[in-house]
């Protein structure tokens, strides 16, 4: 009987712990999300050569999808052109865009030569978002500024844009994607994105 009581107490404590940990994960701050993502990126870069492209892609997929709001980003980059897309096309775009985002990280962050991310400051935006200002120190080169814009999603935060040395990835992609949608249509856009993914995998 005593043993049974002890087991119940132990179970309650462990579930309490688990729920606390879960709550912490759920309510991560914008800064924690960026910090965790940058740490994961550097760790993949350190193992980059050993992992190869496929290994880097597999390791980065959860890191990118858990820190970025990719469905929202995919929606923003097609702008008002998105209104014309069918439900099936919206889903296709989100899937292909997610793959492109991971592939681009796996291709561009392939090796390590002493790089280091540093978070400089945090700023609240007028529309309820947060910008985390950071920079990447590159040995024997100028540091690269990385400003991450995050929006609240549920109890946590997600990256919706990265501004590298003042160039907004969201605005850049939006200009390109809407131009292609207007000129050549949805299928050509998907074809071109898939071409980029294939090229990233080859190099």
């Amino acid at each position: 009987m005593q043993l049974k009581k002890l087991a119940i107490v132990a179970f309650s404590i462990s579930s309490l712990f688990a729920s606390t940990l879960f709550a912490q994960e759920e309510s991560a701050t914008a800064r924690q999300i960026v910090d965790k993502f940058q740490t994961e990126l550097i760790s993949v870069m350190k193992e980059g050569k050993k992992l190869g492209y496929t290994g880097r892609f597999e390791k980065l997929e959860p890191a990118v999808t858990n820190s970025h709001d990719l469905p929202k980003i995919a929606r923003i980059v097609v702008g008002k052109e998105g209104e014309k897309l069918s439900e099936e096309q919206q889903k296709k775009l989100t899937d292909v865009f997610t793959k492109l985002s991971v592939a681009s990280y796996a291709h561009n962050f392939k090796d390590f030569s002493g790089e280091e991310f540093v978070i400089d400051s945090e700023e609240e935006t007028k529309n309820g978002g947060v910008v985390i200002h950071s920079h990447l120190n590159v040995p024997d080169d100028k540091p690269v500024k990385f400003d991450y814009m995050l929006k609240e999603k549920g109890a946590s935060w997600r990256i919706i844009n990265i501004i590298a040395n003042g160039v907004s990835d969201l605005a850049l992609k939006r200009s390109e994607y809407t131009a292609i949608l207007q000129r050549e249509g949805f299928d050509v856009l998907i074809e071109k994105i898939n071409e980029k993914i294939d090229n990233y995998a080859k190099q």
Partner: protein, 289 residues
């Protein structure tokens, strides 16, 4: 009649508004795209092979030295523009940088100032004009030169005038021509990484180049101080769009619910049939008894 014209013009306005931003900054897109293709051809068949050859045959320390030399020559222009923008303390640092590199850095070939903690600032006359309130104007792609703007085009003439490398070729003598050629070769060799990145990342190279060039210039104007609300417009647009995308979701869900309720009705009818048949069975049994 006036009202009808007003309404028509408003409708037309609304129809073009999605494309208005691109048209405002790039009204000469047809000409620019043609120039872009021309430059791309020149780059593929002339500039790239020359730059690759230069990189192949020149040791990397010489390439660094050549780059330092031309960057240092721009130093005078940087100091001038610092002063024109009333950045006095920065102008003193940049003057120190130029003097140190020209003397201790053997004519600018060694970037001694970097080790002395004097970072290189990027200032030019286009940024000065922006600070004075001159509007950027339309985007332009110039033959052999590449991306620019209506404001950037005359500004680059000022920058060239303040660069000693320009005067070295004025005499068109045997010694000065290679200096101008080396400057162009060095610029192309430096652009190699950026051009490779564009080829890999862009789904539309022309739009990618235009957008990143204009954003990069804007960032220089603001001395790298990115506004927290840089994409406020995109996010405001998204609120409207998210509602519409959710609408698809709602339509889908409501269809699923109505299907569900129809199925429930079928289930209920089937249950009643079953209940009725069991009652019939019971009545049969009772009548047999």
């Amino acid at each position: 009649m006036k009202h009808t014209i007003k309404i028509i013009s408003l409708i037309c306005g609304a129809l073009v508004s999605s494309n208005a931003l691109a048209k405002t900054m790039d009204p000469y897109e047809g000409f620019n795209r043609a120039m872009y293709d021309f430059n791309d051809g020149v780059d593929t068949y002339v500039a790239a092979p020359l730059a690759n050859g230069y990189k192949f045959i020149t040791p990397s320390f010489v390439q660094t030295g050549v780059n330092n030399f031309f960057t240092n020559l721009k130093g005078i222009n940087v100091v001038l523009n610092d002063l024109l923008q009333a950045k006095f303390s920065q102008s003193a640092a940049d003057l120190g940088r130029f003097t140190l590199n020209t003397t201790a850095g053997i004519g600018g070939f060694v970037d001694v100032a970097k080790y002395a903690g004097l970072e290189q600032n990027e200032e030019d006359f286009d940024q000065t004009l922006a600070m004075w309130g001159v509007p950027e104007g339309a985007y332009l792609v110039l033959p052999f030169v590449g991306p620019s703007t209506m404001r950037g085009m005359p500004a680059s003439a000022f920058d060239a005038a303040a660069n000693p490398a320009t005067y070295a070729s004025i005499g068109a003598n045997f010694a000065s021509a290679p200096l101008q050629f080396m400057s162009a070769l060095n610029a192309r060799a430096n652009a190699e990484g950026a051009l490779k990145f564009i080829n890999e990342a862009a789904v539309d190279k022309y739009v990618f180049t235009r957008e990143s060039f204009l954003q990069w210039r804007k960032n220089l104007e603001k001395d790298g101080n990115v506004s927290a609300d840089i994409d406020a417009e995109l996010l405001t647009d998204d609120k409207e769009l998210a509602f519409k995308w959710r609408d698809y979701q709602k339509q889908f869900e409501s269809t699923a619910i109505s299907f569900g309720s129809t199925t429930q009705k079928f289930d209920l009818a089937a249950q009643r049939y079953e209940q009725a048949s069991s009652k019939v069975e019971q009545l049969k049994k009772q009548s047999r008894k």
